[in-house]
Amino acid sequence: MVPLSYYLVLSAILFACGVTGFLIKRNIITIFMSIELMLNGVNLSFVAFAAQWHALSGQVFVFFVMVVAAAEAAVGLAVIIAIYRARETLNVDQVNLLKL
């Protein structure tokens, strides 16, 4: 039996990778994938706890998160395509109409 802490450490590493990618990457698709990575890092900790406490609610949460992530991916990719058509770039630093 793998101890809980292993899962949690892996979850934290995944989440941290997601955050780092989100912060440093310019390509909007990479950023998008970083968000997915963060979500899945969290998902991992949910299922780990669920297995640990023999409680189903954590797994239910994970299903919800995955559904929401799928919906988000659909909308997000549509937005990305719209942006690319309008501005011919996927660099977020150039999508700066609202910037000060």
């Binding site: 955050v19 989100f22 912060l23 977020v92 630093d93 700066n96 609202l98 910037k99 000060l100």
Partner: protein
């Protein structure tokens, strides 16, 4: 039990008139405005007369409850009215003289563009004055008290485009505020110690209290504070300075407010509070001394004035001093008697002066008048009667009331009598001076050089303006009625009739003391009458038979004359001692110090500070999504670190 008198109608009728003229007068014709003003004022007089007749004989006070006002714990003050013989006299004088002056004003103000405004204010004044005299508690009285101050302010500054009129109104208002402050503190003391402002309740509690002979106590304090209020309203030293300036208002206003009615409110208030004053001899002495000094002081100023209305103004201050002298020696009914006769003859004098000013086209300087006797005989006749009355010549009204006061003053302290009698001499001197300068000798105006409004009015009517002309009947009739009253009005005082009449108000012991006038009274009467006649004769010599004498006397007196001519420099003194320090203190400390440095700078610095901080902080809001995300991540990291540390620490 007296029937329901519906006293509330008496003040409310003029209020309705004021409201109608105030709201609709601007678009109405002069005739409509006149009708409204006169009908409502006349109705108040008629109803006052009806109420007086039904109230008769009125030895039992009548109270009328109108509405609740303030109910707080045990304290209560209601809109309620009180009628006894004292307020009866006041009510009839105010409505009667007020109505006559309303009629007169129709003629005097006819050409004025602010005609409707004038009558609106005049009716408003009647409302407040009647509220004042009919109140059954000090608080309702105070409404009237402040209200007449307001009406006075509005009417003094009636020609507000004239700078002097506007500032005279302001001066009257501010000086009155000083007095009102004292009055108000007196009222607070009454609430504090008697828990009521109702006349009956307060006086019932004061009645059994001992006279404060040993030293000053509560009643003395209340009495003196009430007197401060009376000093402001009734133009006594040291607060009299506003009254002469108040002559900037239209002349009917001077007659109604600043001679006949409003300025006597202080005398009425002191008389109404006689229960308090009788138990506070020190306060009474203060009243008597203020009254006596004011009577003498103002009379001397009156001698040297050249403006016809200014002479009458100082004369009013002086006569009010007589009334306070009477109150101060405990002769309240003599004070009220003089108040009544004074309302007749001083009202008449002002209206007559208005008629003179009207006749000579707005000129007020007596040096440019003279010889008007033949041009305006009716005005001359009535003015002469009023002059005889105010000088105290037998048998005109002023004789009876003034002698009553002097006799009572003599009984209290002969010094009061001496000053009073000298003042009577001076009064006679300056009044006959006014009469002779105005009506005798040659007409001294080469032409009417200052084109007043009235003059232009008469140009349009086609009158020549180099010739003085008699006023219209609408102005003369009130003059004649007042002349009649000034002639016979004093006769009610024969055999102390007036005192007996007011006996139920001022108490039986007072009535008893009023009896027993003997040879001494006759002697004093003779002396003061001689004084008055002497004043008249000297005035005749100086201003009719040897008109070059006054200038020589003035020259030989030098600085004394200049002091009197300049009203003893009291205005200048007040300006130096009170007004200028106040203005300077307000400018330097309150305006430039407190207001600018403290208040403004606090507000400005708060605004600048917010801007400075925002200037720095706004860099956080760059619009760069990744930097936002960075902040969020950093914040989350800090929170997690904190929670972990907490967990470790526990």
């Amino acid at each position: 039990m007296t029937p329901n008198l519906n006293l509330w109608l008496i003040p409310v009728l003029p209020l309705a008139g004021a409201a109608i003229n105030g709201f609709f007068g601007k678009k109405s014709s002069r005739t409509a405005v006149t009708t409204v003003a006169l009908v409502f004022c006349g109705a108040a007089f008629a109803w006052a007369s009806v109420a007086a007749a039904r109230f008769w004989p009125g030895d039992v006070p009548y109270q009328e409850f109108l509405a609740h006002w303030i109910r707080s714990g045990t304290f209560s003050a209601d809109f309620a009215f009180y009628l006894d013989r004292l307020s009866l006299v006041m009510m009839l004088v105010v409505t009667g003289v007020g109505f006559l002056i309303h009629i007169y004003s129709v003629g005097y103000m006819w050409e004025d563009p602010g005609y409707y405004r004038f009558f609106c204010y005049l009716n408003l004044f009647m409302f407040f004055m009647l509220t004042l005299v009919l109140a059954n508690n000090y608080l309702v009285m105070f409404i009237g008290w402040e209200g007449v101050g307001l009406a006075s302010y509005l009417l003094i500054g009636f020609w507000f485009t004239k700078d002097s009129a506007a500032s005279a109104g302001k001066k009257a208002f501010i000086v009155n505020r000083i007095g009102d402050f004292g009055f108000l503190i007196g009222l607070f003391l009454l609430i504090e110690h008697f828990g009521s402002l109702n006349f009956v309740q307060v006086f019932n509690q004061v009645q059994p209290m001992a006279t404060e002979t040993a030293g000053a106590g509560l009643l003395t304090a209340i009495g003196i504070l009430l007197m401060v209020g009376a000093c402001g309203k009734s133009a006594q030293i040291p607060l009299y300075v506003w009254l002469p300036d108040a002559m900037e208002g239209p002349t009917p206003v001077s007659a109604l407010i600043h001679a006949a009615t409003m300025v006597t409110a202080g005398v009425y208030m002191v008389s109404r509070s006689h229960v308090i004053f009788e138990r506070a001899p020190i306060a009474l002495t203060v009243v008597a001394i203020i009254g006596t000094i004011t009577a003498f002081f103002a009379a001397t100023i009156g001698i040297a004035q050249t403006d016809i209305k200014k002479v009458l103004a100082y004369s009013t201050v002086s006569q009010l001093g007589y009334m306070f002298m009477a109150c101060g020696v405990g002769a309240f009914s003599a004070g009220i008697f003089h108040l009544m006769t004074h309302a007749f003859f001083k009202g008449l004098l002002f209206l007559g002066a208005g008629s003179v000013i009207h006749a000579v086209g707005g000129e007020q300087d007596m040096r440019k008048m003279g010889g008007l006797r033949s041009y305006i005989p009716w005005t001359f006749l009535t003015m002469a009667i009023a002059t005889l009355a105010i000088s105290g010549i037998f048998p005109f009204a002023g004789f009876w009331s003034k002698d009553e006061i002097l006799w009572k003053a003599y009984q209290a302290n002969p010094i009061y009598w001496v000053i009073g009698a000298i003042t009577a001499f001076i009064t006679s001197l300056y009044m006959f001076r006014l009469l002779f300068m105005t009506f005798f000798g040659e007409y001294r105006a080469t032409k009417v050089d200052e084109h007043g409004r009235l003059l232009r009015a008469h140009d349009q009517e086609g009158h020549g303006h180099s010739e003085p002309h008699e006023s219209p009947a609408v102005m003369l009739v009130p003059l004649l009625i007042l002349a009649l009253l000034s002639t016979v009005g004093g006769l009610v005082g024969i055999h102390n009739g007036f005192e007996h009449f007011l006996g139920p108000v001022f108490g039986p012991e007072y009535e008893a003391a009023a009896r027993g006038s003997g040879g001494m009274e006759l002697l004093l009467m003779g002396i003061s009458l001689t004084f008055a006649l002497a004043g008249a004769v000297i005035a005749y010599i100086l201003y009719v038979s040897k008109p070059y004498l006054p200038d020589r006397i003035a020259d030989s007196l030098g600085s004394l004359y200049r002091a009197v001519f300049n009203k003893y420099y009291v205005d200048e003194l007040y300006a130096k001692v009170f007004v200028n320090p106040l203005v300077k203190g307000s400018t330097r400390i309150l305006w430039q110090g407190v207001d600018r440095k403290v208040i403004d700078d606090t507000v400005n610095d708060a605004a600048y500070g917010a801007r400075e901080v925002s200037d720095e902080v706004r860099h956080m809001q760059s619009g760069n999504l990744r930097s936002y995300a960075g902040w969020i991540a950093a914040g989350a990291a800090i929170l997690i670190a904190y929670m972990v540390w907490q967990g470790v620490a526990r």
